[in-house]
Symmetry: C2
């Protein structure tokens, strides 16, 4: 490993001068700068990140506290967070957090001087991890939102706007009987997971505002429950002509079960899904109309919010909401026979 000292010697300057040119931290005459750069090039010098971290008390590492769950798609988020971090000279470490030692693990990360800040995913409405971070005065940003948000940097999906848009799109087509299908997370570690809660609230608001008829169906991840979603729908909300689903398995089950009951999608029943992976939508027949989750935008925004905080930009908290974008498929159409459709 080539050290700064070696560069300094060969360039016949002091080690500090090398540091100045490497970090652009003090003015250096063009000639010496050039000479130093040349030697750096020749020797293939790269500054040692650990030494740098030790001396500057900044690791330039962001930890992504990251849930050990299988069933969601975090790819986009993680990928973009890592890329954004790298662009700003930071690095993203995956920090698998095991539920038993949350309290210590999470702060030791910072206290041990390993990471400068923390990115937290899959935030619950009341999340003890957030409490720990605040208490430890650790810089952090959330992907998702807790209930209490004052002064907290976060980025999240704008469920309100997303659902409102879906309902609006449905309403424009003439739908008046709309059902929301949600994951039922009761009894799972994700029981306090916010998205279904916010979606349901937004759904009720949007329905009420337009004077439509809305129903909500909660389906667990039990295979039988998923397989029975069409029956559940037809029993609990028989008038439904359009479905908003935030439950991927249920969406697919509907797509295959409805036609068997003589209900064609989209002719007799429209289906739109929220915050699904793009990959899934393209695979179905008909292709699902999807309101795609803004994983990439959120990953980048979260990393940048955290970095801004770390670099001392002490503005107001970054609080970003991004709505899902409609990715049209072929699972949505006007209702078959609506007397009051325009």
């Amino acid at each position: 490993m080539v050290t700064m000292q070696q560069v300094a010697d060969k360039a016949k300057v002091s080690i500090s001068t090398v540091s100045f040119v490497v970090n652009n931290t003090k003015p250096v005459t063009p000639e010496t700068r050039e000479r130093v750069l040349q030697v750096i090039e020749e020797l293939g010098y790269r500054r040692n990140r650990m030494a740098r971290a030790l001396a500057s008390r900044k690791s330039h590492i962001l930890a992504l506290i990251y849930p050990m769950l299988d069933h969601r798609n975090h790819h986009a988020f993680i990928e973009s967070a890592a890329t954004a971090a790298e662009e700003h000279g930071y690095n993203l470490v995956l920090w698998p957090l095991h539920s038993d030692n949350v309290s210590t693990e999470i702060t030791s990360l910072i206290e041990a001087g390993f990471a400068d800040g923390v990115l937290l995913m899959e935030v619950q409405l009341d999340d003890e991890r957030v409490a720990h971070l605040q208490q430890a005065a650790a810089p952090f940003a959330l992907i998702g939102r807790t209930r209490e948000l004052s002064g907290i940097d976060y980025v999240d999906i704008d469920f309100e706007r997303t659902v409102a848009t879906v309902i609006e799109d449905f309403a424009k087509l003439g739908h008046r009987d709309i059902t929301l299908v949600l994951e039922d997370l009761g009894g799972t570690p994700l029981a306090g997971y916010a998205p279904p809660v916010r979606t349901e609230e937004a759904f009720r608001d949007a329905i009420a505002e337009r004077g439509l008829n809305g129903a909500v169906i909660r389906i667990s991840h039990d295979p039988d429950a998923v397989a029975g979603v069409a029956d559940t729908l037809l029993v609990q909300a028989p008038a439904t002509t359009a479905i908003v689903s935030q439950h991927d398995a249920a969406s697919l089950a509907l797509l295959s079960a409805l036609p068997r009951r003589g209900i064609d999608v989209p002719r007799d029943m429209s289906i739109a899904t929220i915050a699904t992976a793009t990959s899934l939508a393209a695979l179905t027949q008909p292709p699902l109309t999807t309101y795609v989750g803004p994983g990439h935008e959120l990953g980048r925004a979260a990393a940048e919010a955290l970095i801004a905080r770390l670099e001392g930009r002490n503005g107001p908290a970054t609080q970003v909401l991004v709505a899902c974008r409609c990715h049209p498929g072929a699972s949505v159409a006007p209702p078959r026979a609506t007397p009051d459709a325009r």
Copy 2:
């Protein structure tokens, strides 16, 4: 931040003694050890990772060089690699690699003292990244395999055994006309991606060995190509009674298109998929019979192989192949009318 020196002072020992108990690196009398541990507890001391890394010349960080691709599911692998690393006192950093600066980026990682070793995913048959790593004498392990493997630590899916098992399972049911559906990656950045190549070879071998009739269909990711997979199949291999698919989109397309042509799955056509995400299999109707990729095992094995290398266990290279495990669904059955089925 509490330092070792502070602990030493309060415990009235020297800083080295503290180091000895913290690292278990030299014998210490039970009493002083106890005293030191007590002070550590009181003060909430944690050793600083950066200082430790600098002094010991070991960062205890593994970099996961990781492809910026959307369409595969790496969750299981990344998750398990991160967990395994953590269990051994290492950490996993995501290192987004952009194709332009592969050569330098990859070695600077090690030379800059940032990571101790590298984990490489999505390995091509001839992968320049591997060449760079070897040349830089950087410790690494592959998930996947290059063509040349001597002395290289790697873990990979055992395509040979997996395909052989699928064919065997099909043959036992009486199928004699089997078609392999693959991704056509020609023209994409993944053109040299090994799995399809190995799968095809294994397929031809297995078919030949049993004297069966085999066909191979390559489908690109173009939506039209995917949508037309059923037609392609019926034209190119009309006798087919069983399909092995390593193309998720095509699998789903088949599942929905075949019934429309009066071909019931699994009564008239069996479908099994290879190395698919478990999550997908459960969502289809009928549920897909899947030979599930061993992502978790591979992630762990790769991390542990690399760590073993780093810690100086200079044995022969770790070369692990794990076959996919059959996850039965309801998309496989005996062929409808085979005169020679027993």
